[in-house]
Amino acid sequence: MTGDFTQSLLEQVQEAIGYKSPLVIEGGGSKKFYGYPQPDVLKRLYTSDHQGVIDYSPDELVIHVRAGTPLSEVRKLLADSGQMLAFEPPDFAGNATIGGVIASGLSGARRPFSGALRDFVLGTTVITGSAEVLTFGGQVMKNVAGYDVSRLIAGSLGTLGVILDVSLKVLPLPELEVTLTIPVSRGGFQVLLQSMRQSVPVSAAAHEGDHLRVRLSGSEISVTAAVKELGGEEIDNSYWDQVNNLERFGEIEQLWRISVVPGSDILLEEAALVDWGGSLRWLVQPGFSPRERLKKNGHATLMKYKAASLAPGLDIFQPLVEPVAGIHQRLKKQFDPAGIFNPGRMYRDL
């Protein structure tokens, strides 16, 4: 049975507060690999029954859904009205829920061209660690009443509260999408990309091996014209699902996600794949610490790893420095005073 399970979720949170027993929040379980491992002994709070579309009016460009709603269902519903989630979230094993999508905050290949996940979050309802059901933001595009808690929740990996529902801005699907592969060196692809972006509707750009993969999205006329102009070879658009779902790397011990300014030289040649027009670099078992190379020029996340490869004390997410680390601690205390939600999943002390 699925539907509104607010009451049941709330009761489980109240119980956990009472017993001071931590809860691991789980939707579709498609991103269990992300963050620090959650011990099996900890109690699970399953959100996947709490599903359903609360409101969707295509001409308002807004969808309001419960957290347990499968991403695939939302995508299909939107596509039926010619719309999409423009931040192109990964679906991994195919059973991701909207709640998990928001909590992980991961954006796909369209990010540099259309915006990040948090840019499309308009409002959210959460259960806090004080067992209160609170609503922030709303269903409108512009809203500056109260602090922007809904965007803070996005990407907080369930450490601040249980997401009950979320309102997202949606955008029209392009009339036509074509992906081209064009031979160009790692060092030269960004210059090529810069030269095309003014007059060609680019919606994704990655470099892998010795080819630029570029997706064009727009009206039939402009995409067709761009394909003619750019040359190269056409490949299936599903390439981007593989990129978003981390399926281009095969069996690996460690996969590092490096986020830098697009034009940076750092780890450019070493990366197995460079996405986001140059800004996102994927390193496969580098055999060295990417953070030492990065210094203060970006951040590195150990995105996927085999448990055996995880050296004790290795930080999965880029360590925070003061006073930012202290602000994190104090925010966590405000939202989750008993520290019951996903403890240690994002940072060991959060």
Partner: protein, 483 residues
């Protein structure tokens, strides 16, 4: 706090850039919300980040409230001074520190005006997208504090969507960074949280904004309609057709007539509503969109259509919209600008309610509307010299905001809560939600040194507000002991 001793210590930091004389302090008693006035205890105009840091530390140690202000153009009283506090004006920090063409970034100080950024990068074929109508004067630091919008938000977003990194001074005087030049950063999204926080969390001293390439092609179309409903239905059809206009604006009869009388933009003065639609992008994309736009306008009964692609002509069509506020200022001694957002489908309903309220309060109202994103700016016309008119205008405004909440919207789309809408926060948010906001504030500013009393009402204030304002037949806080 001994004022003379404090001034002495401030002088050691900022030299002569301190204002302490009564008549001069009066100059700073208000921001863009001129109905609220309060002279500050002291005004300080630091000329470097280091000076800001030292002033903040001094205020923290002495527990002197601190209100940051940029150009003072804010419309919600967010920079209204504190009578016992320092007004920290950041206008002297106005350097453009660097422009990175390759990565399309500009790093600037908070006192740089919004328009100055676009002017500075124009030659490189770039611009900064958010464009609040005060962009000639308003500063980017203030834009961050209020999460300012403008007329291009539907496609390009608000300030929060266009800023990549901030340098901030904490209330204790520590300098730190949030965000990065990359597309994301580790940890919680403090960058998003800081936008629109109205100077309650820290003092922004450096901003890295994302720049966009100037679009290859731009078209502006205006259309007159015999009924507001027709214009609203055209807006719905435009969005349904998969078109995301760069700008989509609506004006009602009173606003059209005032604007036309003022700037002669060629608007149809007999029309009940005017739509202004700007499309931008790749030339080939635009041709297709423009054709379907024209069809939609005609199908919805547009009584007149005007269009322009060359810059001077586009500027003419925009002129009336951009001059709408001063144009209203010409036909009434004073006007009060509201800023609610509603789901677009309730537009006719809300406009009818506003018309009814206009009769109830015997005050005319003109409506200017960011139709694409549902952000409504009713302008209430009044005369501050007439007894009771300001009070009536404020009450009328408050009722409009409540109407926006009832329609599923919000009390502020882009102007901020400041001091102006603080009572309406008690209606939009529950006691527990407001408590959490106070908790979030405390996570940044435990001693509540920064801009105290703004943005989020105290629960006590809500109780008092609730006592004179019974909402939907019940008080808002029945659980609190009123005595």
């Amino acid at each position: 706090m001994d004022k003379h001793a404090f001034i002495h210590r401030l002088r050691a930091i900022c030299g002569e850039n301190i204002i302490a004389d009564e008549p001069q302090l009066k100059v700073y008693e208000t921001d863009g919300l001129t109905a609220k006035r309060r002279a500050p205890w002291l005004v300080v105009l630091p000329s470097s980040v280091k000076e800001v840091q030292q002033v903040v530390k001094l205020c923290f140690d002495a527990e002197v409230p601190l209100v940051a202000r940029g150009a003072g153009t804010g419309l919600s009283g967010g920079a209204l001074p504190h009578a016992d506090g320092v007004l920290l004006i950041l206008a002297k920090l106005k350097r453009i520190l660097s422009v990175d063409t390759e990565n399309r970034l500009a790093t600037v100080e908070p006192g740089v005006t919004n328009l100055a950024i676009s002017e500075a990068v124009k030659d490189r074929g770039l611009y900064y997208a958010p464009d609040p109508s005060s962009q000639v004067a308003c500063s980017i630091g203030g834009n961050v504090a209020e999460n300012s919008g403008g007329v291009h938000c539907l496609k390009y977003g608000l300030t929060v969507h266009n800023v990549r990194r901030l340098k901030i001074i904490s209330p204790t005087g520590d300098l730190y960074e949030v965000g990065s030049h990359a597309f994301d950063s580790a940890g919680y999204d403090l960058l998003a949280l800081l936008h629109g926080s109205e100077g309650m969390f820290g003092i922004v001293v450096e901003i890295t904004v994302a720049l966009l390439p100037i679009p290859e092609s731009v078209s502006v179309v205006t259309a007159g309609f015999a009924a507001v409903e027709d214009a609203a239905s055209a807006v719905t059809d435009i969005i349904s057709a998969g078109i995301i206009p760069a700008g989509l604006e609506m004006m009602d009869k009173l606003a059209i007539e005032a604007a036309e009388a003022y700037v002669k933009a060629g608007y149809p003065t007999g029309a009940e509503a005017l739509l202004l639609c700007e499309l931008d992008g790749i030339e080939m994309e635009l041709e297709t969109q423009l054709r379907s736009l024209m069809d939609i306008l005609k199908e919805n009964g547009a009584t007149s259509i005007d269009s322009a692609t060359v810059p001077e002509e586009r500027e003419r069509l925009w002129r009336g919209r951009k001059a709408a506020f001063p144009a209203i200022g010409r036909i009434a001694p004073d006007y009060y600008c509201m800023d609610g957002t509603i789901p677009r489908r309730h537009l006719s309903l809300v406009l009818n309610r506003i018309a009814a309220l206009s009769e109830e309060f015997s005050l005319p109202v003109a409506n200017v509307f960011h139709a694409g994103d549902g952000n409504l700016h009713p302008l209430i016309l009044y005369d501050a010299n007439e007894a009771d008119e300001l009070r009536r205008a404020e009450e009328f405004g408050a009722r409009i905001l409540e109407c926006c909440i009832e329609a599923g919207g919000t009390i502020t789309g882009e102007h901020g809560v400041g001091i102006e809408k603080i009572d309406q926060m008690c209606i939009q948010f529950s006691e527990t939600e407001l408590s959490l906001f106070h908790g979030v504030k405390a996570a940044f500013d435990e001693k509540s040194i920064l801009n105290p009393g703004k943005a989020v009402p105290s629960l006590h204030r809500c109780v008092e507000f609730g006592a004179q304002h019974v909402h939907q037949g019940k008080t808002k806080f029945p659980e609190l002991d009123l005595f």
